[in-house]
Symmetry: C2
Subunit: 415 residues, 2 copies
C-alpha cells in the first residue's frame, strides 16, 4: 500500500471522524452513489473479458475512444501512468474529444478504418462533441449505419435505456452499460475505462484489486488520514481556495487532468445552504514545474495547499553517467546516481522549501507505478472527493452549472 503523511494539523474529534465514515458507508449502501461498488464488480469484468477474447484484436492497430470529459480522462490517466509497463501492447490509443477541426484531421491522419476499433461513450447520447465525431467518422470512411463494418468496428458505452442505448440495440451494436448511479467523472472502473484498458493489454483485474484494497481499509475505518485531509480542505476553503497536486513523474500528466475534473466539477457547487463553495484544483508535474509554478507557491500569497506525489521505485536503473563537462563541474554531485534518486530528491527538496514558507503540505508515496498502485490512487482521490463534498455540504455527483451553456449553444443554431 502507498502511504500519506500530513504535515499540517487537522483538528477533528474522533466522533466527527466516525460520523464521516458513517456518512460514506450510508451513501454507499443507499444505492444512490454507485462508484463505491465498482472495485468488486467482477461480473462486468467477466463480460468485457469474454468480449475481448472473442474479438480479433490482433487485426486492430488503433483504439479510438470517442468521448469527452469523464468518458476520456480516466482512461487517458491510467494508460499514461502505465504506458512504460510490459503489459501495454503497441496499439495506438486515440481520443476524439475536442471539436477543433485541425485536431480531428490530425487524429485521423493515419487511421485506417479496417484496422481500428471505435468506442463511442456518452451517458445519454446527446453530447454534441461525441455525436459530431461519430457522424464525421461515418462520412469520412463511407460507412452507413446499417453496414456490417459499422457493427464490427464500433462499440457503444452508455446508460441503460438511454436514446443511444436504444439506437445501439436496434443496430445490434456491441454495447456495455454504465450504471445509472455512476457519473462520468467517477466512471473509470466501469466499461468506460475497463474496455479500452483491457484491449491495450493491461491487467485490469489488478487495477480493481488496488482500488478494492483501499476501499476495504476505508470501510473498516482504518483511513482517518483521508478524513482529516478532506476536513482540512473543506474547512479552509475560504483562506486556502486552491489545492495544488505536485506529482513527481511525467507519467502523472493525465492523472493530473483527471484530478482537475474530479475535484473542480464535484466540489464547485451551490451547497445545501445556498452558498457558492468550491476548491480550485491545480496540477503540476515535477521536476518540470519547479521551473514554472513553484515561485508562485513559495513567494506568492498563502492561499494554497500542496500535495506532493512521489514514486518510490520507478523500476528503472538508468543513471547519470560519471562524465565531467569542463566548467560545469558543479553539477557533478549527481553523477553515478540514478535518475530515480534525482527526481525523488528533487521532490523532497521542493517539499522542504515549500514547508519552510508555512504552506500546508502532505506527501503521498506510491511504491511503484503498476496496476495495483494506480487503482489505489484513483480510488483514493474518489474517496477524498466524496469526503470533501460531505464536509462542504454539496451534492458531489451532479453538475447543474454546465447546462445553461448547452441551451445557449442550441439557440444559436435555431435561427
Amino acid at each position: 500500500m502507498s502511504k500519506t503523511e500530513l504535515f499540517f494539523k487537522s483538528e477533528l474529534m474522533q466522533n466527527d471522524i466516525d460520523e464521516a465514515y458513517e456518512a460514506i458507508i450510508e451513501e454507499s449502501e443507499s444505492g444512490e452513489v454507485g462508484y463505491y461498488l465498482l472495485p468488486e464488480d467482477m461480473q462486468t469484468l467477466t463480460e468485457i473479458r469474454q468480449f475481448c477474447e472473442n474479438y480479433d484484436f490482433d487485426a486492430i492497430k488503433n483504439v479510438v475512444v470517442i468521448g469527452i470529459g469523464g468518458s476520456s480522462l480516466g482512461t487517458k490517466a491510467i494508460d499514461y501512468m502505465l504506458a512504460h509497463t510490459e503489459n501495454r501492447n503497441d496499439k495506438n490509443l486515440i481520443f476524439m474529444e475536442n471539436v477543433d477541426p485541425n485536431e480531428i484531421k490530425h487524429n485521423l491522419k493515419n487511421v485506417n478504418f479496417e484496422e481500428s476499433f471505435f468506442i463511442m461513450i456518452s451517458k445519454s447520447g446527446g453530447t454534441i462533441e461525441t455525436t459530431s465525431h461519430v457522424k464525421y467518422i461515418l462520412d469520412r470512411y463511407d460507412i452507413s449505419l446499417g453496414d456490417a463494418a459499422f457493427v464490427k468496428h464500433f462499440a457503444i458505452i452508455t446508460d441503460p435505456l438511454s436514446p443511444l442505448d436504444q439506437f445501439a440495440k436496434e443496430h445490434t451494436l456491441t454495447t456495455f452499460h454504465l450504471p445509472l448511479n455512476v457519473g462520468g467523472r467517477f466512471s473509470v472502473f466501469t466499461p468506460v475505462g475497463l474496455l479500452p484498458l483491457m484491449i491495450l493489454g493491461y491487467d485490469v483485474e489488478k487495477i480493481l484489486f488496488g482500488a478494492r484494497e483501499l476501499k476495504e481499509s476505508f470501510f473498516a475505518k482504518n483511513e482517518d488520514t483521508l478524513i482529516k485531509k478532506a476536513y482540512f480542505y473543506a474547512s479552509s476553503q475560504e483562506n486556502l481556495p486552491i489545492n495544488v497536486l505536485f506529482s513527481y513523474s511525467s507519467s502523472f500528466k493525465y492523472f493530473n487532468d483527471w484530478y482537475v475534473q474530479l475535484w473542480g466539477e464535484s466540489l464547485g457547487k451551490i451547497n445545501r445552504d445556498g452558498k457558492k463553495v468550491g476548491l480550485t484544483p491545480i496540477a503540476l508535474v515535477g521536476s518540470v514545474d519547479q521551473h514554472s509554478f513553484l515561485q508562485l507557491i513559495i513567494e506568492g500569497p498563502l492561499n494554497k495547499t500542496v500535495t506532493m506525489i512521489k514514486v518510490e521505485d520507478f523500476n528503472n536503473e538508468m543513471k547519470i553517467p560519471d562524465i565531467t563537462i569542463p566548467h560545469l563541474e558543479k553539477t557533478n554531485f549527481i553523477n553515478e546516481h540514478s535518475f530515480n534518486e534525482l527526481i525523488n530528491a528533487q521532490c523532497d527538496a521542493t517539499m522542504e522549501s515549500i514547508k519552510d514558507q508555512g504552506v500546508d503540505v502532505d506527501m503521498i508515496t506510491l511504491n511503484g507505478l503498476d496496476e495495483k498502485s494506480v487503482g489505489e490512487m484513483i480510488f483514493y482521490y474518489e474517496l477524498l472527493t466524496s469526503l470533501t463534498g460531505y464536509f462542504l455540504n454539496v451534492n458531489t455527483y451532479n453538475q447543474p452549472g454546465v447546462e445553461l451553456g448547452k441551451v445557449i449553444l442550441q439557440k444559436k443554431f435555431e435561427k
Copy 2:
C-alpha cells in the same frame, strides 16, 4: 490584428494610463529588461538563418531540445499552435525536460544520433536536469566531448561568458547567445525559440513581425485595453486571485503551459512593500474543459477572472455531415455546419453563461492561427505580464523563490 473586448469595468484615470505607458517605455529604454527589443532584432535572425542555410538539415529527422522551463515552453507553445500549417516540415521535435527515467527512455527510443540535432539550452549551464540529460546522451550514444560528431550534432544556447559558454568555446561548438537582460520565460524570441522553430520550417520573421506590430501599437500608446486589464487584475488580486485562460482550440495546449509559467513565476513575488502578492494562472482548452472545470467557474466561489480566446478562422472547412442517428435527432441542429462554427459558438455560449453568473470576462479574438497572430499573442501576454507586475509593484523578471530548493537538493547528495 486580433482584438480584445473587456466585459468588466476597469476604472483608471487617463493620467494613470499614461504613467503606465511611460513606465514600460522607460523600462525598455533603461536596458535592464531586454525582451522589448527582441521583435526588432534582425541581426540574430540573420545569424540563425545563415547557420540553417549552411547546415545539412535534410539529413536530420529529430530536433532534440534539451532544456526546461523557459528553455522549452515557448518553442513548444509556438510549434503546437502552428503544427497544422503548411510551413511545418516533418522533423520530430523532442523535448528533454523532466528527469523521469521512463520519460527519458521513451523520448530517445527511436532517436538515432546521426539523424538528430541536439540543442542544449541553459542560461548558466548549471541546470541539473539539462546537464544530466546531456551526460546521459553522451554516454548512450558513446560520444566523447572532443568528437567531431559532438561538434556536428550539438548546438549550445547560453548567456555570453557563462560557464557553459566557456565550455562551448573551448570545444568549438555552434553557440548562440541569450541577451543577459532577457530571462528564460521571456526568451522565445531569442535563439531559444528562433533556432528550433526555423529548423522546423516556420517563417520566423513573420512571427517577429506579429510581435513588432503589437509593440509599435503599444509604444505609440494605442493599447489602453491592455493597461486597463493589467490594472484590473493587479487591483483585484485579493478578491480575484485566480486568472483563468480558456482557449478554444486544442492548438493552445502548450501556449497555456507557457502562460502559466509566465504569469505564475513573474507575478508571484514578495513585492517592494514586503508583501506576498501574486495571481494564480489556470489554463483550459475549450470545448474539452467545459466538461471539466466549467462547473467550478459557474457555481463555485466568485474568485476568478476568465479570458476567452477564440480563433475566427481555422482555415479548415471540415463539416458535421448531414447524418441522422436514430434516437439522437436532437443533435441534428449542428448538421451541415462546420466544426469551426461549432467550436466558436461553444466559446460564445460558454462566455455568455459565465457572464450570466457575474464573472469578470474578456474575449481575445484572433483572426487565425498563423505565424503573425501567434507572434502577436506571445508579445501581448508578455506586455500584459510586465504591466501587471508594474501595478503589483514586483520585480517581474526574477525568481528568487526557487533557489532554496536547489540548495537543499545539493546538500542531500553531499554526504
